[in-house]
């Protein structure tokens, strides 16, 4: 009886341990992309440009935290995520944001992040350009 109880307890610990570890392990890259998709949807729905920018800033911070709180991912994934974040880093902070300057922001982001060589495609840079478009639309 005693042995059976110990055995059950061990199985329980094993199962719980497994599920806790499973819960802790986040697929950062997948989450990152889900958050971008949600941001895109929110930006499409919202009409007010100031609210759009708030929504962007909130997501931007969440994306950063997601990466900061988790271990480094595979290199290609890290590069893609950084290209997205760095493209949008050229947008101003909340207090400096002015809707009328949106065209200039777009120019700045494009000038900094567009490659001079057309064969260098970066889908995450393109996605960042799309976010800028959605904010400024």
């Amino acid at each position: 009886m005693h042995r059976i109880q110990i055995f059950r307890a061990l199985i329980l610990i094993f199962l719980l341990g497994g599920s806790v570890a499973g819960a802790a392990k986040v697929d950062v890259y997948s989450e990152f992309q889900k958050k971008i998709a949600k941001l895109e949807t929110d930006l499409k729905k919202e009409k007010d440009i100031t609210k759009k920018y708030d929504s962007f800033l909130k997501s931007y911070r969440e994306l950063s935290d997601l990466r900061a709180k988790n271990p480094r991912q595979a290199e290609e994934k890290e590069l893609n995520m950084s290209l997205f974040m760095d493209s949008l880093a050229f947008l101003p902070e909340k207090k400096e944001f002015q809707a009328k300057k949106c065209r200039d922001y777009k120019k700045e982001v494009t000038a900094m992040m567009q490659s001079y060589s057309k064969d260098q495609k970066e889908p995450f840079v393109e996605r960042a350009f799309k976010v800028v478009d959605l904010i400024c639309k």
Binding site: S64, L79, E93, M113, Y116
Partner: protein, 475 residues
């Protein structure tokens, strides 16, 4: 004692006389065969030569020596003559005549005293780069087969080439262009290099030197890059519609247009003679940024001569400064007010123990890559490489070898798909990748290494530092 004093003065006089006769002769008539004039002794000799020349008031003989072979000429550079090139390579001759009409004082189409600009960049650098670039003629599969047959007629049995079926030979890419039908239109692709005559080299060199002086662009810094891209040919036409001496794409021209109004004043408001000469040629300076035609369908705007190569080089000067400013800005960004987790390159370098490293040299590498990838991306790649290296920094501390750009992947490595497959192909057995390897493996880029390779070629052919900056792209 008296006798020994007398013999000392006799000996001294003899030495002086011998130097005056033989030393002076050898300095004045130096053929310049010593390509690697870098020792202290050679530098002293060079200075003596300069003093000697200025005293004699004579124009020095231009040094055309090289460690090179073009046709049957060994270790000396010479201009091609129109009669040597045949009709298919003389297609720019009438353009030079047209240039002469808009440059009646011969600022660009005429010769100059090239000893005055030899320290900036010797004219032979332009000649060497132009002659060395790509091939004189693009060969068809039939011509390639014929060339192999011809080779085998005289080559020893050990050096015979395989003669294949015509279908098994590839047509050479056509990397030059003509803009005869519309000077602002679509370039017509062409396979043969324009004849590298003295007129042609002078036009390119005079333009390069004046833009370099007027816009403060270091000629020896950009020489390896231009050697890699266009070979200084006015009508170079790359495979992604990058055109002209500056190999401009639509995005690069759009950047020039965006910065033109800010930079224009540097030329129009300058009293420098070089700027005055640039201003004197019609078509070189657009009235405003709207006149800069960036679309692929207008690429002849940056190719057709006249007024190119001048216009394209003026654009290049603007491009150089704007890209450098933006690339350095992206590199130096230390904070992001929207992202408290952001860590800039310098903070990451500090964490990796790289405080003693020459940060300006690293910025230079990133800037060179920015010519190709745009100003913002290379700084991202560099930061990611640092973060990647920090993961294993205790076991594998970063050393100068991690920044070595004397790197070129092998054929099988090139064939592997960018990403983990390439890392496998690099066969590092768990050791971390150097910066050059990382850029190649994950971003499919060998651009910095390619420009560095051009600098090596120039150093080998014309002497270290003759056409390049000292320690170019190295720590």
């Amino acid at each position: 004692m008296k006798q020994s004093k007398a013999s000392f003065w006799v000996y001294t006089f003899c030495c002086f006389a011998a130097f005056a006769v033989f030393g002076g002769y050898s300095l004045y008539y130096q053929t310049g065969n010593s390509d690697y004039a870098s020792t202290a002794e050679e530098q002293v000799l060079k200075k003596l030569q300069t003093v000697n020349q200025s005293l004699s008031g004579m124009t020095p003989k231009e040094d055309m020596s090289c460690s090179c072979q073009f046709g049957d000429q060994t270790n000396v550079l010479s201009f091609e003559k129109p009669s040597d090139c045949g009709p298919d390579r003389n297609y720019l001759q009438d353009k030079f005549q047209a240039f002469k009409k808009i440059d009646p004082k011969g600022y660009f189409v005429g010769g100059r005293d090239y000893s005055k600009t030899a320290d900036v960049l010797p004219r032979k650098c332009a000649l060497y780069i132009m002659k060395r670039f790509w091939k004189d003629r693009a060969l068809s599969p039939e011509e390639k087969r014929e060339a192999d047959i011809e080779w085998n007629r005289t080559a020893p049995p050990s050096d015979q080439r395989e003669v294949k079926e015509v279908k098994d030979y590839r047509q050479d890419p056509r990397l030059f262009s003509k803009c005869d039908s519309d000077p602002d239109g679509v370039p017509e692709r062409y396979g043969h290099k324009a004849c590298v005559t003295e007129d042609y080299v002078n036009l390119v060199y005079n333009s390069l030197i004046d833009v370099s002086d007027c816009l403060d662009v270091p000629a020896k810094f950009i020489a390896p890059k231009l050697s890699n891209e266009s070979g200084l040919h006015v009508n170079a036409f790359g495979l992604v519609n990058d055109g002209g001496i500056g190999q401009f794409t639509d995005q690069a021209l759009a950047d020039v247009a965006q910065n033109y109004d800010n930079f224009k004043g540097r030329i129009t408001g300058s009293s420098k003679e070089s700027c005055q000469r640039l201003r004197s040629i019609p078509g070189v300076m657009p009235k405003n940024s709207k006149e800069i035609l960036s679309s692929d369908s207008n690429r002849c705007h940056a190719i057709s001569t006249p007024p190119n190569p001048l216009r394209s080089l003026v654009y290049y000067g603007i491009f150089y400064h704007s890209t450098k400013r933006n690339s350095n800005g992206a590199f130096s960004r230390s904070t992001d007010s929207k992202d408290p987790n952001f860590r800039g390159a310098e903070a990451l370098m500090k964490e990796a123990g790289l405080e003693g490293y020459d940060i300006e040299k690293i910025k230079e590498m990133i800037f060179v890559m920015a010519y190709n990838s745009g100003p913002g991306r290379p700084a991202v790649f560099f930061r990611e490489w640092l973060k990647y290296r920090l993961e294993t920094i205790k076991k594998y501390p970063i050393t100068k070898a991690d920044f070595d750009m004397n790197y070129w992947p092998t054929g099988p490595q090139f064939k592997a798909k960018p990403g983990e497959a390439r890392v496998q192909a690099l066969g590092k057995k768990g050791k971390p990748l150097t910066l050059a390897e990382y850029l190649f493996a994950y971003k499919d880029s060998v651009y910095i290494a390619a420009v560095k390779a051009q600098a090596r070629v120039l150093d080998k052919g014309l002497g270290a530092g003759t056409c390049t900056e000292s320690k170019f792209l190295e720590l």
